[in-house]
């Protein structure tokens, strides 16, 4: 009788333990299966979010460029033309009336203000939409930009290029904007007296490097916030690689951007 009970307990124990182990087997199997499924779904979701974010950035940059072009055209064609008209009229008044004393002085001041305004309008339009960017291409536009920065900012801006290349795709304009932003940052914050912009064209890669001999650079600093954010947005748009460092010979900042370029 005792043996029968013992056998029953052993049987119960065996079946119970085997049942539990089978259940664990299922739990582990479904865990591995379900975990992979969730992981793939999460990855897919993240990929879609990133793609959406990239699309938003692209749309933002494109609309920014369109807006800039529109403002530049309006300034040049409308305000610029009106100022030219005013200048022509002022010249006509000068020819038809003879000014003396204080009137002569006021007239000179008026024409000087008109000249300065026309120059400012031209400069702003050029900065908003680089002068004939599509005709000149990236290299020439960057060279001109460096010349302009060289003229009135106290720092010596040097432009170097390993070979002459013509590139005027929309991506090239974004590279130009990056150079513009990096130069502005260097002039404003680096306290450098020499800034170098280098374009190195390789077979399918463009390496842009901007270096200075200033006080160095902390990308986390608030002063660089918006400008630096805009550079990063453009780097993302271009699917480029951004590197930060110091120039080999001296203190300062070296920022290099490498990207693939193509001509249509």
């Amino acid at each position: 009788m005792a043996s029968t009970t013992q056998d029953q307990v052993v049987l119960l124990l065996t079946i119970g333990t085997l049942g539990i182990l089978t259940l664990i087997g299922f739990i582990v199997f479904f865990f591995f299966l379900y975990q992979r499924k969730i992981f793939i779904l999460q990855q897919e979701k993240r990929r879609k979010e990133q793609a959406f974010e990239r699309e938003m950035v692209n749309a933002q940059l494109e609309s920014q460029e369109k807006e800039r072009a529109h403002i530049a055209a309006e300034l040049h064609d409308s305000v610029g033309s009106m100022l030219w008209g005013a200048k022509v009229n002022a010249a006509f008044i000068e020819r038809s009336t003879s000014f003396t004393g204080q009137t002569q002085e006021s007239y000179r001041e008026l024409t000087s203000i008109l000249d300065q305004s026309i120059d400012s309008i031209r400069r702003i339009s050029r900065e908003l939409l680089p002068e004939a960017f599509h005709v000149a291409g990236l290299s020439q536009s960057v060279a001109k930009l460096c010349e302009r920065f060289n003229a009135g900012n106290g720092a010596n801006v040097i432009f170097k290029e390993n070979q002459i290349q013509f590139w005027n795709e929309p991506e090239a304009l974004q590279v130009y904007r990056i150079v513009q932003e990096l130069l502005t940052n260097a002039i404003r914050h680096s306290e450098a007296n020499t800034i170098e912009v280098a374009l190195n064209w390789e077979s399918k890669l463009l390496r842009l490097c901007v270096s200075d001999n200033g006080i160095g650079f902390d990308p986390e600093a608030k002063a660089y916030g918006v400008g630096w954010w805009s550079i990063r947005q453009r780097v993302d748009y271009l699917k480029a690689e951004l590197q930060l460092g110091k120039p080999a010979a001296e203190n300062g900042t070296l920022i290099c951007i490498t990207l693939a370029y193509r001509h249509d």
Binding site: V9, I24, F31, F32, Q35, I38, F39
Partner: protein
């Protein structure tokens, strides 16, 4: 030497397999490092029990003490894996130790197998194990989760404690031989799964250094 004796020997020496793997490279993973102490304690306790059994002494005091040490070390492993707070760990550790002492002093004594404590630890660690699976599903640390050493430690814990649940419930003297066979099989399985955990930890070091 009969089959049961051989199985008991294999079970006693099975922690040596994962322990030997530790000497290939030094492991950073905290859970796997704590596991080394657990394996060492298991080996020492089983060896002491075997020596006592050969000399016809009572093995239960050693077994009971090992149950406490095992529970505390596993609790520490899960504290690290599930990111428990230190306070919660101390609370559970102290509560368990207190329960162990009270049970030994007033209920089951030191010279019999403390089944209440065993059953409690089984319940706790089955829950911890399931909690860890849920934690992994929430955090999704990587695609190939089998490369995470803690996953194997967790499976070993689940297999051992859930498999032994009925063994601890039916711990009757009449079927003692049979329950110990099941226990030994599960113990060997657990140590093999721990071996996989240590091996995965070693692989991670190798792949990160190469």
């Amino acid at each position: 030497m009969n089959a049961m004796m051989i199985m008991a020997m294999v079970s006693t020496f099975s922690p040596l397999v994962p322990l030997l793997l530790y000497y290939r490279r030094s492991i950073e993973n905290l859970e796997v490092r704590i596991l080394r102490w657990l394996l060492l304690m298991a080996f020492v306790a089983d060896l002491a029990s075997m020596a006592l059994a050969f000399s016809r002494g009572n093995t239960y005091p050693v077994t009971n003490l090992y149950i406490l040490v095992q529970a505390l070390l596993l609790l520490y492993i899960y504290k690290s894996a599930l990111k428990f707070s230190q306070k919660l760990f101390y609370f559970f550790g102290l509560a368990y130790t207190l329960f162990f002492i009270v049970n030994m002093a007033f209920f089951q004594g030191y010279d019999t197998l403390n089944t209440y404590v065993r059953l409690t630890s089984s319940a706790i660690f089955i829950m911890m194990s399931l909690l860890y699976f849920t934690h992994l599903l929430r955090s999704l640390p990587e695609f190939f989760v089998y490369r995470i050493p803690m996953v194997w430690i967790n499976i070993a814990v689940l297999v051992y404690f859930a498999g032994n649940l009925l063994v601890f419930v039916f711990n009757d003297k009449l079927i003692m031989t049979y329950t110990w066979i099941i226990h030994n099989i599960l113990n060997i399985t657990k140590n093999l799964l721990f071996t996989v955990a240590v091996w995965q930890a070693q692989r991670r070091i190798k792949s990160s250094s190469s």
